[in-house]
């Protein structure tokens, strides 16, 4: 369970990216975080694993206060949080296998990782995950040889091999075509179900979010302005989050999508 209490981030430039965000995400819940560009979505998930240091407030994962951990404790806590990125953020010149195994770095000593001597059970798990995301044939390819959708699958495998209890997902589909986007979202949601993971998914595509998640949080200039079920996303709510626009076409008829998502 992830609990955020009054999480606030003010950048050195004076921009207030997050102000007093309080919310809790129970185990196994997949949450979509929507909001206009610059609303603080990326900042929020980066404050959870402290790639960005929050200015004040606290983030607790399974009752451990991440915000006050020292560097050693933080590294341990990060192992429990898998992160998936918009531009995949694979190490381009390493192979698919090395990229996946890099998810185990928090568990493996320096020399073993330097010489790529990962424990056999990690390698087994990597094969299992690559099989699960459909990339078993690509094991020895270099990451920069893969297509966008394939890269994101590697990114997912890298996050999952950490054996996390929470996934932080930053715009997983923003660089992908509509079909691949759906496949990737479906894969993430399925995997969360299989493993009982909770997840925060930053996403621009409101319809896509409605299709796959149980809960939507709307962020606007660093504040939570909506928190509810996907069905509750009305044109009024979207206007509040994004500003005035004709929203009728954006909102999916949820009945149809419930079928499609199955």
């Amino acid at each position: 369970m992830l609990q955020l209490n009054g999480l606030t981030k003010v950048y050195n430039t004076g921009d207030k990216a997050l102000s007093d965000v309080t919310l809790s995400i129970p185990d196994g819940q997949v949450v979509a975080l929507i909001g206009p560009s610059g609303a603080g979505k990326s900042t929020l998930i980066r404050c959870v694993n402290r790639l960005v240091e929050p200015t004040s407030g606290e983030a607790l994962l399974d009752d451990i206060n991440i915000t006050t951990l020292g560097s050693g404790g933080l590294r341990k806590a990060r192992r429990k949080m898998g992160m998936i990125f918009q531009e995949y953020a694979l190490v381009e010149r390493l192979t698919v296998m090395e990229n996946v195994l890099s998810g185990r770095l928090g568990y493996v000593g320096f020399w073993r990782s330097l010489f790529r001597k990962f424990p056999q059970k990690d390698v087994d798990e990597a094969y299992r995950l690559l099989d699960r995301v459909g990339l078993l044939a690509m094991v020895d390819k270099r990451a920069d040889e893969l297509s966008g959708g394939q890269r994101q699958r590697v990114g997912i495998a890298r996050a999952l091999i950490q054996n996390p209890s929470l996934l932080l997902v930053d715009e997983p589909t923003a660089s992908l075509d509509p079909k691949t986007s759906r496949q990737i979202m479906r894969l993430i949601v399925e995997l969360c179900e299989e493993r009982g993971l909770s997840a925060i998914i930053n996403i621009h595509d409101v319809a896509l979010a409605q299709m796959f998640v149980q809960r939507v949080i709307g962020l606007e200039t660093g504040k939570v302005v909506f928190d509810g079920a996907p069905t509750e996303l009305t044109p009024e709510v979207l206007t509040q989050i994004y500003g005035e626009e004709d929203w009728e076409a954006t909102i999916e008829k949820v009945d149809d999508d419930a079928e499609e998502a199955v």
Partner: protein
């Protein structure tokens, strides 16, 4: 250029008339400086030496040919010294340049205010002095020979390699580093997985490029007594043994071509 209307038409020019005149003025100033400098050089040149320039070239050319091929047996060892000096010098320089580069790069330096200026000072000071000067100094410190040349080559190369490498480090994609950090990796692991793969092509390119330069530099270090084939060149020049000089130049040319060929191959294989 602000919009102008002439006879009801919108006229467009890249520059205003004033800035155009300023540009012409600058060109004129440049031209005057060039002519004055030329004048200065001309006044200090002994033009009468040039009267028989063609004859002298033909004369030296005829004395230098054919090269004294039998002299080659005395050159094997010096050319080996030269190549060893260049290669070992490059390796030592790289070993020292890597930590300096990491200290100098803005995104990896331990401290922007204390460590980074120190690293930049190392880079600037080793780069600013020519290896021939380093060799001169070192010959008087450690005595003449290959060792002095080796040290000269490595010192001169530290700054060069570290500068190019730290620029490569500053250009890496930060999100890849972030992704590794997010897995709970230690700082050393972040370096090995997040940074090193990204700078490997640059590193390999810098290494062979500098090695290539060092082969050429090490051929002349002998002129100041720092070992290698330059010693033979010096002594041959001193006794006006032109056939030997031409052979040495051929050998140097050959070594440089081999060096370029190898470095081109290596670069092609890695990038």
């Amino acid at each position: 250029m602000p919009m102008q209307e002439k006879n009801g038409q919108k006229v467009w020019q890249l520059r205003t008339t004033k800035s155009q005149w300023i540009r012409w003025g600058m060109w004129l100033v440049g031209l005057v400086i060039f002519i004055l400098s030329w004048q200065e050089i001309s006044d200090k040149t002994l033009w009468f030496m040039m009267d028989n320039v063609g004859e002298v070239i033909v004369d030296i050319g005829s004395r230098a040919t054919p090269p004294r091929w039998s002299y080659i047996n005395q050159l094997w060892w010096p050319i080996w010294d030269t190549l060893a000096m260049a290669t070992l010098g490059t390796i030592f320089a790289l070993i020292m340049a890597v930590p300096v580069a990491f200290m100098a790069a803005r995104n990896t330096t331990p401290s922007k205010f204390f460590v980074r200026p120190f690293a930049l000072l190392i880079i600037v000071s080793t780069r600013s002095v020519n290896s021939l000067i380093w060799a001169l100094l070192l010959v008087s410190i450690v005595g003449p020979g290959v060792f002095a040349g080796l040290i000269a080559i490595s010192i001169r190369s530290i700054g060069f390699c570290a500068k190019l490498l730290y620029e490569a480090i500053e250009e890496i994609s930060e999100t890849q580093v972030e992704a590794i950090r997010a897995t709970g990796a230690s700082p050393l692991q972040v370096m090995v997985y997040g940074i090193v793969p990204q700078i490997m092509p640059a590193f390999a390119g810098i290494a062979v490029f500098r090695w290539d330069i060092n082969i050429r530099e090490s051929t002349v270090l002998g002129l100041v007594g720092a070992g290698g084939i330059g010693l033979q060149l010096q002594s041959s020049l001193n006794v006006l043994a032109w056939p030997q000089v031409s052979l040495i130049l051929l050998v140097i040319l050959f070594a440089v071509i081999i060096g370029e060929w190898i470095s081109a191959k290596v670069r092609g294989a890695i990038i």
